[in-house]
């Protein structure tokens, strides 16, 4: 199992640890609900250094990205970010990712899911026939997501970059907490606002008392201590993202689901060519057969990944991809694929929870 540069700090804080995508990661520190609430109302710090980062450089970098991703990266100028999908030949999703434009037409950073680093790397390499310079910097790029309505305000004194006024899906690069070349973006996976902080460190696992990760973590918690800033784990990250209806790769989207089925039509641009464009265009014109829908429970019970979804007569119409008790809303919520006719708002569906069929209804996302 691999460590991030912060693993020993999580253990020292008494976090409940578990393996995620091959990394020893904190699931929770004081409790998922507690951390969830801290992020929604104030601010919390997630170590997400397990995420993958690839740097693509050269005159054909944009061309490669355009051919492999569903969104239109030609719209990006330096300092802008885009949410996108790598699609496979069948119109499924290899991964969902963020594309950072470092220098227009010349240099981009792709941020991919930890569980897909190797798969994505091989996929992109396989299609790199125009000598784009590719660098996998995942194992020396630290990443803290500092999320919540007060996150930017708490961190602002640590840098000259104007992070308070950083626009959504843009980034700045500069000195932060005494560390050079730190990239701060107004992005995140919680819907709570805040920033994500990328920095170059010594390779993960190095023993050195001059790690950038130590400087940043210590500065962030020193300044945040009096302002209620809390460490938050992957458990709260999951409940926060699910309340927003954000897809989790491996749960809600995977190699077999199309971006159109997953409600990601807004990042699927047919104005350019990309892998499986024709298949997806056909899917769009004919209409998808199933759709990822959000639902809330009417009967008491909690939906979980893999549970079957049925209609009122007990016929299977789909399956649950994510579910939890929403800490902010105080009700059980979930997402799942259902046949299109069952995906309309207020449709009554039934979740097969062990031996019972529990009533639920389709609602719009984000959950409210």
């Amino acid at each position: 199992m691999k460590n991030t540069p912060f693993t020993s700090k999580h253990i020292a804080l008494g976090a409940k640890m578990a393996e995620f995508a091959g990394y020893n990661m904190p699931i929770s520190y004081t409790g998922i609900n507690d951390e969830h609430t801290a992020v929604r109302r104030n601010a919390g710090v997630f170590d997400v250094s397990h995420m993958g980062e690839f740097v693509l450089k050269g005159e054909n970098a944009l061309d490669l990205i355009q051919r492999l991703t569903s969104n239109d990266a030609s719209k990006l100028s330096a300092g802008k970010i885009q949410y996108s999908c790598l699609t496979n030949e069948n119109g499924g999703i290899v991964d969902d990712l963020l594309v950072y434009c470092i220098e227009e037409n010349r240099e981009y950073m792709l941020v991919v899911n930890a569980s897909n680093i190797e798969k994505d790397w091989n996929w992109i390499m396989k299609h790199n026939n125009k000598a784009v310079i590719m660098e996998n910097v995942s194992d020396r790029t630290g990443l803290l997501a500092i999320q919540g309505p007060n996150a930017a305000k708490i961190l602002q004194p640590l840098t000259d970059m104007d992070i308070l006024n950083l626009k959504y899906y843009t980034f700045a690069k500069g000195k932060f907490a005494g560390v050079d070349k730190v990239l701060i973006s107004a992005t995140g996976y919680t819907g709570a606002g805040g920033v994500e902080i990328y920095f170059e460190d010594l390779p993960f696992g190095s023993q050195d008392n001059n790690m950038a990760s130590d400087k940043i973590w210590d500065a962030v918690f020193k300044i945040g201590a009096s302002q209620g800033l809390k460490p938050a784990g992957l458990g709260a990250r999951d409940t926060l993202r699910l309340e927003m209806g954000f897809s989790l790769y491996g749960n809600d989207i995977d190699d077999t689901t199309s971006p159109l089925e997953a409600g990601l039509g807004w990042i699927t641009k047919f104005t350019k060519d990309f892998t499986a464009k024709t298949i997806l265009e056909k899917q769009k014109s004919e209409g998808v057969k199933r759709k990822l829908a959000g639902f809330e429970m009417i009967d008491r019970g909690i939906p979980r990944h893999g549970y079957e979804i049925k209609d009122h007569s007990g016929v299977k119409i789909g399956y649950v991809t994510s579910g939890t008790q929403s800490p902010s809303l105080g009700k059980a919520i979930g997402m799942g694929y259902v046949e299109v006719k069952n995906s309309l708002l207020d449709s009554e569906i039934f979740i097969s929870v062990r031996d019972k069929l529990l009533k639920a209804k389709v609602v719009k996302l984000p959950f409210s």
């Binding site: 409790g31 998922i32 999951d238 008491r300 909690i302 008790q325 800490p327 062990r354």
Partner: protein, 125 residues
């Protein structure tokens, strides 16, 4: 983590308080810590005669669902109705307000087979 000496324990991390032939059952402090925030208690077996070891309900935590096993044979006579609105009582006070069911025990001698506090403590430490 606490292990009250007046209780008996199971390997499934439940505790039992026997008074006469009535047993009160909950989950241990260790178990609640492992599960994390408990958000829903699902027990629909009140009034049923069940064998020891059978599943009588489940606990839903934020991340996981976990079955509840009846420690000994008997009849479930009461579910802690306060848990419907505050399942978190199991986290806050697992041996007190977080009790889950009361049951009439068929053979009170079955209770003797369960673990005492010291044996349970060594099991989880």
């Amino acid at each position: 983590m606490s292990f009250p000496p007046n209780l008996k324990y199971t390997r499934d991390h439940e505790w039992i308080l026997l008074e006469g032939n009535t047993a009160t059952i909950g989950i241990t402090d260790f178990a609640q810590g492992e599960l994390g925030d408990i958000v829903f208690v699902d027990v629909e077996s009140v009034g049923k005669d069940l064998e020891g070891g059978s599943v009588f309900g489940s606990l839903e935590a934020v991340k996981t669902v976990s079955d509840l096993y009846l420690p000994v044979s008997g009849t479930i006579i009461e579910l802690n109705s306060a848990l419907a609105d505050s399942p978190g009582a199991i986290n806050k006070d697992p041996y007190g307000e977080g009790w889950i069911i009361k049951m009439t025990v068929k053979n009170t001698s079955d209770i003797d087979q369960l673990l005492n506090a010291a044996a349970y403590q060594s099991l989880v430490s």
